[in-house]
């Protein structure tokens, strides 16, 4: 070999070696994940905190007492990321078998969730033991996509001390809109509002359902029906017309209104019963719970809740369904109600929620569950929520009417 070509060969070799070493260093992280076939069943769910992980582990640990062969591992991102990542996770290799979903998201995830009706028949799961509104919420195109583990009717939390100090009667399991407004106006002063409002459509929807108005009809988005428009307008009016609440800002997270309530900055808040433990710990006042007020004063609850489903591309649906049966057993839900404060989806387990809570709180939840409607949604519900967060601000401020806001959203979503 000539000296020149030798030099060239050495230079090329050195370059390749260095570049290869760099590439190897850059790519040396990562490794294979997932479970071997025949191993544990992976449950993909939201794990925002250690508390979330403990909750899922609680289902597994209690489920093992029902079915000792239960072998489930937990995997997943934060709650906010879950709804996007679950779709990409199922598209990847070694997809998980078990998924969790909220009833409100069942429509959105319907492409991922296997219909469970055949497995329900095969394993003779008695669905009549579960809250019917939640089962309806988990039903897409006539088939059940997830078995609910909780059924949480939205309630009105109030500050008992503030009510007593203002000389007001404490609300019971009936509460009219008229009485609610009278109480709220008495509690409101120049620098103190009675009610906290968060952005988004979730709570206005519960307010509307309390008076029998719904946003979805026959599986289609029906935001412009006059009953719903009137209800949403009455909710907007709480700020501009009645002056009992401050307008939320679009970027406010729900914890802003929650903090306002527990700190005593406001006296009432509409939220889910899953917040009871958190509020009771944080509030320095006696915590009251009643129904979301309606015109008639009778309870009509909007249930929210979550459940376990099976991924469409799961290779062992039977094993996954057996795990769901174990984790939604009555004994498991009772244990989770006592330990984690969920309102169980099985009627025979709901009394366990009363543990450590005031009797009127349990009475309010019971009254709402007796006449409950699930938060029915459409596959495009994310758009509805996003647009209501954007446009709702103008509704509360009185810049736009509920009719304008809901018409805009209905037209934008185009369904």
């Amino acid at each position: 070999m000539k000296p020149r070509s030798t030099r060239t060969a050495v230079r090329v070799g050195t370059a390749l070696l260095m570049a290869g070493a760099l590439a190897a260093l850059a790519g040396c992280s990562g490794g294979s994940g997932g479970n071997a076939s025949g191993g544990p069943i992976t449950m993909y769910t939201w794990v925002s905190s250690q508390s979330d992980r403990d909750q899922w582990q609680g289902f597994i640990d209690l489920g093992k007492k029902v079915d000792p062969s239960l072998d489930v591992t937990i995997e997943g991102p934060s709650f906010n990321d879950y709804w996007t990542k679950v779709k990409t996770r199922l598209s990847g290799s070694n997809p998980p078998c078990l998924l969790t979903t909220q009833a409100a998201r069942a429509q959105e995830l319907s492409g991922l969730l296997m219909p469970l009706d055949d497995l329900i028949k095969k394993y003779k799961l008695d669905t009549s033991a579960f809250d019917s509104s939640m089962l309806k919420g988990m039903t897409v195109d006539g088939t059940i996509r997830a078995i609910p583990y909780d059924a949480e009717p939205i309630v009105l939390y109030y500050n008992k001390d503030a009510f007593t100090a203002a000389g007001l009667d404490l609300p019971s399991t009936t509460y009219t809109r008229e009485q609610f407004l009278a109480d709220a106006k008495k509690l409101t002063t120049a620098d103190h509002k009675a009610l906290a409002i968060a952005p988004g459509f979730f709570i206005p929807n519960a307010w509307a359902i309390a008076d029998g108005a719904e946003a979805v009809k026959g599986g289609k988005l029906d935001l412009t029906n006059s009953k719903l428009v009137d209800q949403v307008q009455s909710y907007f009016d709480l700020v501009k017309k009645d002056g009992i609440a401050k307008a939320p800002e679009a970027a406010d997270a729900s914890d802003a209104s929650q903090a306002a309530f527990t700190s005593g900055a406001v006296d009432m808040l509409i939220e889910g019963p899953w917040m009871y433990g958190t509020f009771a710990d944080a509030a320095k006042f006696d915590l009251g719970v009643t129904i979301v007020p309606s015109t008639s004063g009778e309870a009509h609850g909007m249930t929210a809740g979550s459940g376990f489903g099976i991924a469409k591309n799961c290779k062992d649906p039977d094993g996954a369904f057996k795990a769901i049966v174990a984790m939604t057993d009555s004994s498991v839900l009772k244990g989770q109600a006592e330990k984690r404060g969920i309102v169980p989806s099985r009627a025979d387990a709901q009394s366990a929620w009363a543990e450590g809570k005031s009797p009127e709180a349990y009475a309010a939840v019971q009254a709402l569950l007796k006449n409950a409607t699930a938060q029915l949604t459409t596959p495009t519900w994310n758009q509805v929520e996003t647009l209501f967060t954007q446009y709702g601000v103008e509704g509360y401020r009185g810049d736009k009417t509920a009719k304008d806001v809901l018409n805009t959203i209905q037209n934008s979503v185009g369904q």
Binding site: R4, S5, T8, R11, V12, A15, L16, A19, L22, A23, T84, V86, K87, T88, L90, S91, E108, G111, L112, P199, K246, A247, E249, A250, A251, T380, N382, Q383, T386, T389, Q390, Y391, V393, E394, R397, D399, K400, T408, S412
Partner: protein, 327 residues
């Protein structure tokens, strides 16, 4: 989904230092091509061997995703499930989507106002720092701090400042002024987003323009002073023309960044009230990852690419009139 803007940023970066012929004396001219056209194959292979990691990265992380997003834009493509070929339907839909025009308009307003304010402020501060001000280095660091702080953290702080009961309105109330809803009133929301964005990023341009000012020969300024020019005349006739390459670079890069605004409206206003602060990339992101419409989001990304390319091309075409590369 890859944004074609990555390509735009790269191309403008490479194009931006359209520097004059300023080869130092000690750097030899490149060798003339060899007579007879004989090629040195060995050097080519060596170059390729050194290049391939970077080239592979460029191809796999820039070119392939770019082409991928172009392909995706021709499909109805959910995050999970089978894509359906729809041809140019996503592009047709885009032109009949009123929100598309709204976010485009918002983004153009944001980009031009933000870039103008950013450059005016950065230029003013740079000129001030270039005088014999004490602790100039300290001030430069102070102005640069927001640029190196995470955007999300800055936006959260500004949200606290501008909320209805925030520090700004509390301060105004203390002097008897009833402050507006900066983030919830559509008349003020976009202005608030622009103000926060300018505060966040003008420090970077201060550094670039200060370097440009430092490069102006002192003798020229000294000579003009001896000729009896005023400060305004020196600024207009010497400083600005000699600073124009730096101004052109900062203007181009600031404008490209402005078209990609996302975090500020996402954190401050969620795009509201109404659509008043909804921007192109926020709308694009929501379509892709919240509304599960990757095809439509990719079509939006390509439209943004075209818009940014056009505006950058116009800037390059216009520079001939005002950018002076003579030293």
């Amino acid at each position: 989904m890859a944004s074609p803007l990555i390509g735009a940023a790269v191309s403008s970066e490479t194009a931006a230092p359209a520097a004059p012929e300023t080869r130092p004396f000690h750097v030899p001219h490149p060798s003339p091509p060899r007579r007879g056209g004989k090629k040195r194959r060995g050097d080519g292979l060596t170059a390729l061997a050194y290049l391939w990691p970077g080239l592979a990265g460029f191809v796999f992380f820039i070119v392939v995703p770019l082409l991928g997003s172009l392909v995706i834009s021709l499909f109805e493509w959910p995050l999970f499930g089978s894509p359906t070929f729809v041809g140019f339907a996503n592009y047709q839909k885009l032109f009949s989507d009123p929100t598309f025009y709204t976010v485009l308009f918002n983004t153009v307003i944001f980009a031009f106002v933000y870039t103008a304010l950013n450059l005016a402020l950065a230029l003013a501060i740079s000129l001030w720092l270039n005088t014999r001000v004490k602790f100039a280095g300290f001030w430069r660091v102070i102005f640069f701090l927001p640029a190196i702080t995470p955007m999300v953290a800055n936006a959260l702080v500004w949200r606290l400042l501008l909320s209805d009961n925030g520090i700004v309105n509390s301060t105004l109330a203390s002097i008897g002024i009833d402050g507006p809803s900066w983030l919830s009133d559509s008349r003020f929301a976009l202005a608030s987003v622009i103000a926060m964005s300018v505060w966040q990023s003008f420090g970077y341009n201060v550094i670039v323009l200060s370097a440009g000012l430092g490069g102006i020969p002192k003798e020229i300024l000294e000579a003009s002073r001896m000729d009896g020019t005023s400060a305004w005349q020196r600024l207009k006739s010497i400083i600005l023309p000699m600073l124009s390459p730096s101004l052109f670079f900062t203007m181009t890069m600031t404008m490209i960044g402005a078209f990609q605004v996302f975090v500020q409206p996402q954190i401050l206003t969620q795009g509201g009230p109404g659509e008043s602060t909804n921007t192109f990339v926020l709308y694009l992101y929501r379509n892709g990852f919240v509304f599960d419409r990757l095809g439509y989001a990719s079509a939006l990304a390509w439209m943004l690419f075209v818009v940014v390319m056009l505006i950058t091309a116009l800037q390059f075409a216009g520079q001939k009139r005002w950018v002076n590369y003579d030293k």
